[in-house]
Symmetry: C2
Subunit: 317 residues, 2 copies
């Protein structure tokens, strides 16, 4: 039986029918703008449109925010306020006739990589996504670690530089997110650009605001300033990953998200620093790799987390 995964983002809703093997049979997209009622009806429309008469066993929504999985409610979603507190199982169940569950988007993406992507051969996977923020999800012993309420896997706000670290969006100092996100890369790139005005990075900064893509492109062209930014970011990332290696003893750490497009320019220093800080035998086993599903990890993971009426995963586990 197939299942539907819905990736409810801050700007768009993507719904897909997914097979037990992880193939996407159909997709639908809607904007996610508007107040509560419009948002709910867009989600329902995406589900009903993509379903298009096919038999599906259930649907799961992946949502960027703090989710209480037992209640199928979103507690806090800074980029999607209208969805907060809505009883999604009931509201969307009525409009679609399907069994509806809700998960945090990074946990869903982690599960997608575990079922169909870079983690499909292992039982222990840590997934880290480097975007505007740093998100994550952990599969240990084949189980998605949701925690007691469904809020587990918040890897971005572990502290790695308590004293003197940069201010994070969450209000604290020195979170992994404040040092290794896409946002951290551009902030650091602007600092380095002004320290090294003669570098290619410095020359761009005179003309316009430096973007994350600029840093990656200039680093690939060999600009030392841009390279140093990614090297530094990778090192901070490695400090955080070392902690996860010690705690989870995973087989694979998958790194996804926009900033992971820098690939080895970030992953090589991350690997080096992880190895320096983590313990044996965990550090010897783990492989740090790029995630392979890209932006589709959300719908794929959500579909794989859809449950049927008896609470079983529709696509198996």
């Amino acid at each position: 039986m197939n299942a539907i995964g819905v990736d409810v983002g801050g700007t768009k809703i993507a719904a897909a029918v997914v097979t037990p093997g992880g193939r996407i049979l159909a997709e639908a997209r809607y904007p996610s703008a508007g107040p509560r009622e419009r948002l709910l009806s867009s989600i329902a429309r995406a589900i009903n449109e993509v379903r298009d008469g096919m038999e599906v066993g259930g649907v799961c929504l992946a949502v960027p925010g703090f989710v209480m999985t037992a209640q199928n409610k979103v507690v806090f979603a800074p980029n999607l306020h209208p969805i907060e507190g809505v009883p999604l199982k009931e509201e969307l169940g009525q409009r679609t006739g399907l069994e509806v569950t809700v998960e945090n988007d990074a946990n869903a993406a982690a599960w997608g990589e575990f079922r169909f992507g870079v983690g499909s051969e292992v039982d222990h996977l840590v997934f880290v996504t480097l975007g505007t923020g740093v998100g994550g999800g952990v599969i240990s012993h084949g189980i998605l670690l949701r925690g007691a309420q469904g809020s587990g896997g918040e890897l971005g706000h572990v502290t790695i530089q308590a004293d003197g670290g940069p201010l994070c969006g969450c209000g604290n100092y020195g979170c992994l997110e404040s040092l290794a996100s896409g946002t951290a890369i551009t902030r650091r790139a602007r600092e380095v650009a002004s320290e090294k005005p003669g570098s290619a990075l410095g020359r761009i900064a005179v003309e316009r605001r430096v973007l994350g893509e600029d840093v990656t492109e200039l680093a690939r062209q060999g600009d030392g300033a841009a390279l140093s930014v990614l090297e530094e970011t990778g090192t901070w990332l490695g400090i955080g990953l070392a902690g996860f290696v010690n705690v989870f003893n995973p087989e694979v750490i998958a790194v996804g998200g926009g900033a992971s497009k820098a690939g080895e320019l970030i992953l090589a220093p991350a690997r080096r620093e992880m190895y320096r800080r983590a313990r044996s035998p965990s550090r010897d086993l783990v492989e740090i790799k790029e995630a392979t599903l890209g932006p589709e990890s959300g719908v794929l993971g959500a579909a794989a987390l859809a449950r049927d009426g008896s609470g079983e995963y529709v696509l198996g586990s």
Copy 2:
């Protein structure tokens, strides 16, 4: 059916027969000194002596070091070198006729608190032990997180102050262990004593080497210098715990080990700092408590991790 738990420490071996309800029926102790052969025969003797004709379903050894649980081998045990690499299942199986398994001691203690102690009512428990070092173990969704090799749950070597943190025994800087262990307390106490020679702590330091117990006792008597050391330690502990709260969304964090005897003098600041750094709803749910089993968590947890011939826990799960 009962099971035997063996706590193999750096100085002594404690074996106990434990009931499914967590009651200790008999105990035996031997020194753990000596080369490999003597150590193995002391462990076997402790098991056979404590068993004393009783029917038991299996035995588990809790060992301070890095354990590969699938192989039932200890990879690295800085305080118990002779045990490294020994095929314990076979060696001790022959001498006792019992099914033998091996676990890391902190993971076993965590499981003890989960089955019979402060975590017996919950499904999600983080256990942290503050002794010479900082050890730990995690139960998530009712499962002990051993990781791929059995080396998971190494909570003491997550980095919380990468740049400028103190040197840790593991060779890195700013591990949780370097800032919140019993060793960190005495190191900091000696520093504070020399900064504040007029304090009660300072006056003791003139006479002799300050010990961890001195700090707790003087803090209870209201000495500001000693109080500040525990407050600072608790704050660092809270920074580490905040990360675990974000990652595991646990119901309870249990703090054990010698330094936890300072109780609220450490736990109150730890709770405050955790709440400041962790995210909702996880930080609102979690309770930070003292562990309740004390030094017996080792044998109790080990017994509860003993398996029968078919791989099931003898005492249930």
